[in-house]
Symmetry: C2
Subunit: 85 residues, 2 copies
């Protein structure tokens, strides 16, 4: 594997898992007041569209990365709604 591909994989791993620490923080604190609902809606929608795009262009990395990110950002969205209502 060449360095550039490795760079892309590390970048994908970081942006894909970035919402996990937010999920754990919200879950523990049972509070998401400062987290923007519109950020979560916009990001989840965008990642969902990336997933559809990946299916169209049949790119496994795009499909896998955005599936994981979509699950994490959606859970964040559900927790935000649950703890704010």
């Amino acid at each position: 594997m060449d360095a550039v591909t490795l760079l892309g994989l590390v970048a994908a791993a970081l942006t894909t898992t970035a919402f996990l620490p937010q999920l754990l923080k919200t879950w523990r604190s049972k509070s998401a007041k400062d987290v923007s609902l519109w950020m979560l809606i916009t990001f989840s929608t965008g990642v969902f569209l990336w997933l559809i795009y990946g299916l169209y262009i049949q790119s496994l990395p795009v499909i896998i990365a955005n599936s994981v990110t979509f699950v994490l950002s959606s859970i964040n969205l559900i927790l935000k709604i649950r703890y704010e209502s």
Copy 2:
């Protein structure tokens, strides 16, 4: 422009601008207690690596999208550190 390219552009626009609502919310409330520092660090690092990756593969969409996202997520990170210290 075909539908699939349009889908990719809309997805990119949404995930690129997603951190703007968070930035505005934190700026107005002067509070980011519930926002995960590790989410912002992980995401900003990942997006920075995507930017470097885009420069290597000379992909303008990857460069532009990740430059904007990097600026927005970095400002969120600075505001988080500023309001929490």
